[in-house]
Amino acid sequence: MVTTPRITPDLSTNVGALRLAFPTLMASGCYGSGEEYAPFVDLARIGGVVLKSVTRFPRLGNDAPRLVPVASGLLNAIGLQNPGIDAYLERDVAKFAERPCAVVGSVAGFSVDDYGYVTERLAARDEIDAIELNISCPNVAHEGETFACDAALAERATRAARQATTKPLIVKLSPNVTDITEIARAVEAAGGDALAVVNTVRGMAIDVERRAPMLGNVTGGLSGAAMRPIALLAVWEVAAAVRLPIVGQGGIETARDALEFLLAGASAVSIGTANFTDPRAPVAICDGLSTYLNEHGYAALRDLVGAANPTFLGTR
């Protein structure tokens, strides 16, 4: 029997200038600010937390119900509930300094100006290591997702945020577009440092007893395993279109799922809905990645990035 030499594989990765000890970011809106999950998982064993998206003004969010569990996934329509950037900076941000992992702020907006303004104020804080620009929220009436569905708007929002900070800027794309590579190129041209691929897929459910939509907002975003093949294809295509590092996400539950995204060209992954099934998922994913690297004789996770994608343009 051949025994593989036991080394401790290097799981660290870079998303542009953002250095992560582990390739696992917790997806925006799914992990609070991290403290909610601290009783169940050692936050020092995850790469980082992407915070809930924050907007210029407070938002009460959508009417209930906001969640519908569906086969292999979840529909949500939270509607960007958040206290607005003023209260957020005043009350919430200071406690993020305690996190033993990277902290990525998430900025949402309804105008180009919002993206620049909120990014500038949030990124100015030392507790924040990087900014993710949520131009792809499907759950706010008409406006939120428009920025991710129009290359010119995506470019302007990215440029506004780029001018507002020198910290790593990750722009989050929507799968609800005809050609995602066009949007990815626009973000690259506007100076984005990385891409989060992708946000939720638009969807809905109908209550057959009440003969009415299940979600208070009627439509929602589908996350979880149900969207994984869609997200993986988006990563594959974006990896062939731009050189920017990619944070792959959409239904990643196991190390094998994470590997698919890494091999398609993602430098890191985000994990959202899988935490709702089992809060131990992110640590189990890293353990599984280590086992895979050992079994296949790789010393570093970075060596796998894009390894299955002959059209991968990025660098490892």
């Binding site: 809106g29 799914c30 992990y31 609070g32 909610e36 999950y37 009783p39 169940f40 809930k52 003004f57 407070p58 938002r59 009460l60 969010g61 209930a64 119900p65 906001r66 969640l67 519908v68 569990p69 086969a71 292999s72 996934g73 979840l74 949500n76 939270i78 509930q81 206290p83 607005g84 003023d86 209260a87 009350r91 979880g224 539950e253 809905t273 935490n275 709702f276 099934t277 089992d278 809060p279 131990r280």
Partner: protein, 276 residues
């Protein structure tokens, strides 16, 4: 309800028993010593689905004694169906206890408990706590049919008076349990209720009309169960001690309420403070 100082954790438990007191209602006993010591009435646990399919399921610890915690499961969909088939010896991971439970002290010494269906599961530990300090307790318990009225005897054994109701009249009052409650609810110093939303809304109306304080344990679809996703929102008056601090919205939106998380600020709220 005042915030509870419990320490939630991941618990790896083993199924020690499985009973099916009525078709579609299953009681699963778990060996879970750490959890058994930590649970307070009205709290819940999130149960990791053994097959890994979908989000964890929120369930209320039903009985809790020594090293054992049991769950009462009513089969309504794929996750409850999976949990209802767990055989003794199976491993089951749960995390919790979570949420702020009932405030038993604030209920005084003459309490009406109102249960609709599986809502009974959240009330047994509360009844025990109330009876330990010799409060007078009456249980109002409604279900579809006689066979589904599971667990009423446990309340009687604790010394609670019991009023039963069934939709089909096969046992007790014929109709909704809120109908006998409407006649007698005003006699109690306070009410505590758990069940489907339409029943809780009715209990809330009876309580507010009669000037009786009522604690309602809400049930909604949860995703995280730990306060991370804001998916389980309920409108709560800003005056509530449980209302999360939240700035007034800038334009267009109502200002007299905020969205509270049922899983974190609740699941138990004062009826008169809800704006649902």
């Amino acid at each position: 309800m005042p915030a509870l100082l419990t320490s939630p954790a991941v618990h790896t438990t083993v199924v020690s028993e499985r009973r099916e007191p009525a078709s579609g209602i299953v009681i699963v006993g778990l060996r879970a010593p750490d959890l058994a010591g930590a649970v307070r009435p009205g709290q819940f646990v999130m149960v990791v689905p053994p097959g890994g399919e979908r989000c964890a399921t929120a369930l209320a610890p039903y009985e809790c004694d020594g090293e054992r915690v049991s769950l009462m499961i009513v089969v309504v969909g794929s996750r409850t169906r999976e949990l209802a088939t767990l055989a003794p010896g199976s491993a089951l991971t749960v995390f919790g206890p979570l949420g702020n439970g009932f405030d038993a002290a604030a209920l005084g010494d003459d309490v009406g408990l109102v249960a609709g269906g599986v809502g009974i599961a959240s009330l047994l530990l509360l009844a025990r706590a109330l009876r330990e300090r010799e409060a007078s307790v009456r249980l109002y318990y409604g279900a579809r049919t006689a066979a589904a009225l599971v667990g009423a005897e446990a309340f009687a054994a604790l010394g609670c008076a019991v009023t039963l109701a069934t939709d089909d009249g096969s046992c007790g009052y014929r109709g909704f349990v809120t109908e006998p409650l409407a006649r007698k609810g005003g006699e109690h110093g306070a009410l505590a209720a758990c069940g489907p939303s339409p029943m809780l809304r009715a209990v809330g109306r009876i309580a507010v009309a009669g000037g009786v304080p009522a604690q309602l344990s809400l049930e909604e679809a949860f995703a995280c169960g730990v306060g991370a996703c804001w998916g389980c929102a309920v409108p709560l008056g800003r005056e509530s001690a449980q209302a999360p601090a939240f700035p007034a919205p800038s334009f267009g939106e109502r200002r007299d309420y905020v969205h509270a998380r049922i899983c974190t600020e609740g699941p138990v709220f004062w009826a008169h403070e809800l704006r649902w």
